[in-house]
């Protein structure tokens, strides 16, 4: 094995430390990949490490994934950004507890009206997100799940009821959009275990609730449901008979001696697995037999065994002979006119499996586990190979049902555009100028914010206080609130006045509130203040840092004319104060505090 193959084997084993994993991914990504795709991640929790695990599972499927991270809780803005960047698919993970601060805890005391209002807002917001996301090929939508177990031993508390309601709302809104695939994140939590799924240390500090184990399982499921990010298209399930469809060897034990039936071990395991395979056949998967047996023996079981689930008619083609399995598989592929890579082959014999793996590595080969109680789980994994995104026969019915309901919903949709949605939020911005009491929070925000920070200039509290008392400076801060409550002091602009020129020394915001027009709403007033001081010109600049690329064109969007770009990428803007008109944000109510 060469080095990259060894790394892939280690990667697949999944016992590497986080540091080793990061290193292995970096090394493996240096190779050339025939398939390269970009995935955007948008969430109302900090989920950056999901990117690492998506890259891992993509590499395991032979695909190079480039990850683009969205902002905190800005799905609308994220979709815009992803579409502009040409991202093909997006993982969208709304986080239940972050719908409002400590939402799960708040629910115990929230009024029914407030919950209704939140649901209406949720529907309106995600309807917009989904509508915009039509431009993406695929959207993986994680549903809501709880972080804390119910204190009620019956699991029946307010949070549980609201969770079910909000999940139904998400499903209904999503149903009208065929590019959306739901991922049951609650089941991911159950699979890895609630204790393991969360790391609360970083939830309260960084809004990052999930552990690596959760992220890995979520990424694995996405890879699985996307059939290895589009690299696998399995259509045909080829089954051996003895010790695969039933226990025992029909040629020796005869039909009466084989183990198959609903009640007794080990026949009940084979009977159960046959039901799994039958469900696959019903959803459109082609079943074939490939077994070394006398045709008459097998036919008798298919026709006459009382507990046989997979009857003769279920099989499109049967290779019951004494030929070697690779030859039979080749013949099946030719007969069905499908590629060998669309076949999954199941056999109990290590010898047969190895022969197929050696000679036909493109066939996905699965050996029946020697511990028989594991077989139903393996059968589920086989089903996952075929079913993309959990779409099954009854799933399709459900989708149709949801589609009808969503159609009725959207007929009475209150919000047909982003502005109407934003207006429904009743956004209020209190713009304050030189409020000394806020100095501490202003300094803190300037030290902490990285992404929405135009020049990366940072200020200590003493500097903030000094500038507030200095004629040549003004420090603006903004408090944002909407109908669901206050978001606190979440933006700062520092203005420097020199003669007739008012320069924005820095403008920064917390990620919590971007994407709602707040960032543009304040500038009319700031410009008017500058004019009142006798300034005729406005200046501003963007200084790039490794983290603030998302605001590189902020002043362009604000409508300031670009003067020049320096060699280091800094962008300089200048405008006549009287001619400056920021974009319309009439949905925001602005008040002014001095």
């Amino acid at each position: 094995m060469n080095v990259p193959d060894q790394l892939l084997t280690t990667l697949a084993k999944g016992d590497a430390t986080l540091s080793q994993l990061t290193q292995m991914i970096a090394v493996l990504e240096q190779r050339e990949y025939p398939v390269r795709l970009s995935i955007g991640i948008s969430s109302s929790a900090t989920v950056d490490s999901l990117g690492t695990y998506l890259r891992k599972h993509a590499l395991l499927a032979g695909v190079r994934a480039d990850i683009m991270l969205g902002n905190y809780d800005d799905p609308i803005g994220d979709v815009d950004q992803f579409v502009r960047a040409g991202v093909g698919q997006m993982v969208l993970l709304p986080f239940f507890d972050a719908l409002l601060p400590a939402f799960e805890a708040q629910l115990g005391t929230m009024s029914a009206d407030a919950v209704d209002a939140k649901e209406a807002e949720l529907r309106a917001r995600y309807r917009l997100v989904f509508g915009k996301a039509r431009a993406l090929r695929l959207v993986w939508l994680g549903n809501f799940h709880r972080m804390n177990a119910s204190a009620d031993v019956g699991g029946d508390d307010v949070a549980e009821a609201v969770l079910a309601r909000f999940n139904a709302a998400l499903r209904e809104e999503a149903a009208a959009f065929p590019n959306i695939r739901l991922i049951d994140t609650g089941d991911v939590v159950r699979t890895v275990g609630r204790q393991t799924a969360f790391d609360l240390r970083f939830y309260f500090r960084n809004k990052a609730p999930y552990s690596g184990a959760f992220m890995n399982e979520l990424a694995r499921r996405i890879a699985q449901a996307s059939r290895g990010f589009g690299t696998r298209f399995h259509k045909v399930l080829v089954l051996d008979c003895d010790n695969t469809l039933w226990g025992g060897v029909v040629g020796e034990d005869l039909m009466k001696g084989i183990k198959l039936g609903p009640y007794d071990y080990p026949g009940n395991i084979f009977w159960r697995v046959q039901h799994e395979f039958a469900a696959l056949e019903r959803s459109g998967i082609v079943l074939c037999l490939c077994t070394k047996n006398n045709p008459a023996d097998v036919d008798e079981v298919l026709r006459n065994h009382p507990s046989m689930v997979l009857r003769d008619a279920r099989f499109v083609s049967k290779k019951v002979n004494w030929e070697d399995k690779p030859s039979n598989l080749r013949a099946l592929a030719a007969e069905l006119n499908v590629g060998l890579d669309s076949m999954v082959f199941v056999d109990d014999s290590a010898f047969e499996c190895e022969a197929v793996r050696q000679q036909l590595p493109m066939v996905t080969t699965v050996q029946v586990p020697s511990t028989l109680s594991e077989y139903p789980r393996v059968a589920r994994e086989i089903a996952e190979l075929f079913l993309a995104g959990g779409v099954s026969a009854d799933g399709a019915d459900k989708t149709a049902l949801y589609r009808q309901r969503a159609g009725a919903e959207s007929a009475k949709a209150q919000f047909d555009n982003q502005e109407a949605y934003l207006a429904s939020l009743e956004l209020k911005v209190a713009l304050a100028r030189n409020v000394v009491a806020s100095g501490g929070r202003i300094s803190e925000l300037s030290l902490k914010s990285n992404q929405f920070n135009l020049t990366m200039r940072r200020y200590t509290e003493a500097e903030v206080t000094r500038m507030m008392g200095d004629e040549c400076y003004a420090v603006y801060s903004l408090n944002v609130a909407d109908k669901f409550g206050p978001a606190g002091l979440t933006g700062v602009a520092v203005l420097r006045y020199e003669g007739q020129l008012a320069t924005v020394e820095n403008f920064l915001m917390s990620c919590r509130v971007i994407g709602r027009g707040v960032e543009t709403a304040i500038w009319a007033r700031i410009a008017a203040d500058a004019v009142a001081r006798g300034c005729t010109e406005l200046g501003a600049e963007f200084i790039p840092s490794p983290k603030n690329a998302q605001v590189a064109d902020f002043y362009d969007r604000l409508g300031l004319p670009l003067q020049s770009i320096s060699a280091d990428g800094a962008r300089h803007y200048r405008a006549a104060a009287s001619a400056f008109t920021p974009p319309d944000t009439s949905w925001i109510e602005i008040s002014y505090v001095e």
């Binding site: 986080l18 240390r201 500090r205 690596g212 490794p546």
Partner: protein
């Protein structure tokens, strides 16, 4: 006993910096890449690598090479 070479390697990987950057003066203030998100992954990677559980109150505060060494040494001694 703390293996400093391993520690440095983990920091180099998780902070995505050159090994020369990791010295006794290295901290969140001197390394631009070392932001709060990378810090989180660094703490998780250190726990993974050294098989320790960094207590809540230390997790947010070990923002320099020296502090990380101090805390890891204490945890490894306690474990031994």
């Amino acid at each position: 006993m703390l293996n400093e070479t391993t520690l440095k390697q983990v920091m180099v990987t998780m902070l995505n910096v050159d090994v020369a950057c990791i010295n006794d003066d290295a901290s969140m203030d001197t390394i631009e890449n070392w932001d709060s998100l990378r810090h989180m992954n660094l703490v998780l990677a250190l726990e993974d690598e050294f098989k320790v559980q960094i207590p809540d109150e230390d997790a947010g505060n070990i923002t320099s090479y020296k502090l990380i060494k101090l805390v890891l040494n204490a945890l490894l001694v306690a474990k031994a």
